[in-house]
Amino acid sequence: MSSPVTPDAPGRAATQPEHRPEAAGPPGPGRRSATVRRFLTSPQALGSSLVLAAVVTLVVFAPLFTAHAPTTADLEDAFGPPGGGHLLGFDSSGRDVWSRLLYGGRNTLGGALLAVAVALAVGVPSGLAAGYYGGWFDSLSNWWVNLVMALPAMVVLLATRAVLGTDVWVLMIVLGVLVAPAFYRLVRGAVAAMRGELYVDAARVFGLRDSRIIARHVLVVVRAPVIIQGALVAGMAIGLQAGLEFLGIGSGDLPTWGAMLNEAFTNIQRAPLFMLWPGLALGLTSATLVLLAASLRDVLEDRGTAPATGRGARRGGADAPTTLDSAGERADLLSVRDLAVTYTLADGSSREVVHGVDLDVRRGEVLGLVGESGSGKTQTAFSVLGLLPEGGRVSRGSVLLDGTEVVGSTDRALRNLRGDTVAYVPQEPMSNLDPAFTIGDHLTEPLRVKLGLSRAQARERALDLLRQVEIPDPERTFRSHPHQISGGMAQRVLIAGAVSCDPDLLVADEPTTALDVTVQAEVLALLRRLQAERGMGVLLVTHNLGVVADLCDRVAVMRDGRIVETGTTERILSDPREDYTRGLLDAVLDDTPARAPWQPREAAQ
């Protein structure tokens, strides 16, 4: 049935790369230029960086933009209106507001910059070391960070001021140390998560030194989040610093935005508009920094425009032959006609991933839906349940479930079908149980909501279900949380939940793929028995032709969002008509001969 793996044909693999054009994408332009382009085409990123650049320019080159000294006071001009080269008028001591604004920005922005620099210098290296090496350094620095974070920055700064004096720059260095944990935690978390990544293990196996691994692999990963965090921390530092100055804590006569706000506040009754300019400067600068951080996040952390389905969405090839189930009448239990599923992508465009599928499942029949990843088989199954992931929708066709149309139904109507007409067994047992609830809760909740059973009745029924799925100690499992049971047990629990309200159709999406092969055999036996006892119809989504042979009456082979071939299991597995099906069968290793015994290399040649 299948050809052996061919050790004697060295040319074969080398000349047959997989043809998966959908994954290769266009030839990649340089990453950097792509990032720059994304940055330039994002109005928010461009706008906020332009505003920020303007503020910085005005502040740095303050003498070029104002002819007046910020400290020259003339009480005759106090509260004076704009005019005569005094763009924004005078403050309560008769000083020029515009020049105070520009010079004040120097202190405010410079201080924030210093704080961020100190925080980076302290937080990033310590985070790298703690995350990468772990151990005592990690424990010690975590303890220290918790200590620092337990202190409100404002209180510490006030206390510092009492000790170290009123120098703004000293206060900003202290502030930098106080906010360093923001970087430390970020970097440490990213690095610690990464330390377990296979590519770091791989780098170690390739003989890279730790310093090189950190430089090449680790820094690349934390670069973007650190830049983003830097913008946020700068905004926060500006706010805190202005707050200190507002309290009159900063150094006396230096013009700063905080001090200007303080002055405005004391005159709030007489000249409420004094607050406008320093408030605007401060608000604008902080807001721009946060907006810039938000847009940097979008630009730098771009994960590509994969649809919500991840690898599920693929563009289809040429039109496939007509699907076989379309002829004849529709089955009574499940009948799918011309089903198309479309996803709306992040950029607003849409992509069809299932292109007109026809399927029928009769009562008591097991239909295998077979295909490789990206063939659309799972999307088809979700459509039957009316539970497509976000962004996905049935864009055409009809799904009749026990005579009721699923497509276009209200959620309430679908809810009535789910549980007792159609039920679902997922692939990953662990991620499909809510970790916050016990196994008992999982089983009793639908019984009480759907069937209206009392608490005691639901409990009895649930325990009975656990016995039916051959769980050794039902009472104990009933009380357990999901993380306390094994994957095989969890899958049995999910099967028990699926059959709890006596469904007519079971949609099982790769129900044994995540399990060990010996557990798979047990779960297959369980599914087989429950199906026979209850006479359920089953739509079994799988990539494993052995599972198909074990359970299914009929098979539909799917590829690129279309049904390629449908027939009885016997016929499809022994006499496939389509090349694609034949290719799938050829890849099965069942009858591959074992490799010949080893010969020393010299002898073999």
């Binding site: 200590l147 001021r161 707050g243 309290l247 709030i268 946060v290 919500a308 539970l387 999910l494």
Partner: protein, 313 residues
């Protein structure tokens, strides 16, 4: 659970001692001549020395600290160097103002953020965008600037609330409400921005989890899945952020109490730190750290109750 709480309280006590030692040593570093400071430049040197000796300042720092620590552990935080006020009593008088402010802010923040966050996370679309924009702005603007704007609009222009002053709850509940409304509102803005964003993104993340689909496939109503299952998992990060906001509130309270003239701990901090009054500053630091430790403990207990997996570690 009990042993967990006891362990946490124990490590909290350790933290308290370490922080107090660090703070005491740092504060004593510059060695200001307190006696001179209190008695003024004109006082004779003997009087100054005598005053310093009376305050115990002629002894080594370590001895002074141990002395302070032993009485502090018995609830006696000493007297102010400058006003001779009993520190414990002064703190006790001012604590209710600050605590009522912070509890009010936390309740407002929690309710509003969870409503907004869940709404935006479940509905998405336009609602989501509005909540996100408001969140970014609330986060971006420095807290005291928001406070100033609120004062300008609601107190100075519209005159709905008094701009300054405090009426104790026991005196007049209505008056109390009028005096704390603006402070609570202005302190809540940043918290609501941060916590609602966190709740929103965790709701979205949890809504995409596999078990949510499976629960819905059992025929449970979407609202039930959201409120019973999604919210329970999504609440954990929200609570953590709320706890961190609470710590930050102490800093915010400093400015807000100053602006509104509220007789709380924050205003006291500003007053006394400028003079380097170590007993008072130490008192404020101790109260703050105790508050932080208790808050973190409360958050951890809540998280453990919501999420059984976290209970293990």
């Amino acid at each position: 659970m009990l042993s967990f709480i006891l362990r946490r309280l124990g490590s909290g006590l350790l933290l308290l001692v370490v922080i107090s030692a660090l703070a005491y040593l740092l504060l004593s570093l510059p060695g200001t001549d307190v006696g001179r400071h209190v008695l003024g430049p004109a006082a004779p040197q003997q009087a100054v020395d005598a005053h310093n000796a009376e305050l115990g300042l002629d002894r080594p720092v370590a001895v002074r600290y141990l002395d302070w620590l032993t009485s502090a552990l018995q609830g006696d935080l000493g007297r102010s160097w400058f006003t001779s006020e009993d520190v414990s009593r002064a703190l006790a008088n001012r604590l209710p103002v600050t605590v009522s402010l912070m509890v009010g802010v936390t309740l407002v923040t929690a309710v509003v953020s969870f409503v907004l966050g869940v709404w935006a996370g479940v509905r998405r679309g336009a609602v989501d965008r509005v909540v996100q924009t408001v969140g970014v702005l609330g986060y971006a603007l420095p807290g005291f600037l928001v406070t100033l704007v609120l004062v300008l609009v609601f107190a100075v222009r519209l005159g709905w609330f008094p701009a300054i002053g405090y009426t104790p709850l026991s005196q007049s509940p209505g008056g109390w409400l009028a005096t704390v409304t603006l402070p609570v509102l202005s302190l809540s803005v940043a918290g609501i921005a941060g916590v609602s964003q966190q709740v929103r993104s965790s709701v979205i993340e949890v809504m995409g989890r596999d078990y949510v689909r499976t629960l819905r496939s059992r025929g449970l109503p979407a609202s039930r899945v959201v409120f019973r299952h999604v919210l329970r998992s999504a609440a954990t990060p929200g609570l953590t952020v709320l706890g961190m906001q609470f710590v930050g509130l102490l800093g915010g309270a400093v400015i807000v109490e100053q602006i509104f003239g509220l007789p709380g701990i924050g205003a006291m901090t500003v007053q006394y730190t400028t003079r380097g009054d170590i007993p008072v500053i130490m008192g404020v630091v101790m109260v703050t750290v105790v508050g932080v430790i208790l808050t973190n403990l409360l958050v951890d207990v809540l998280v453990g109750w919501l999420n059984p997996k976290a209970r293990v570690s």
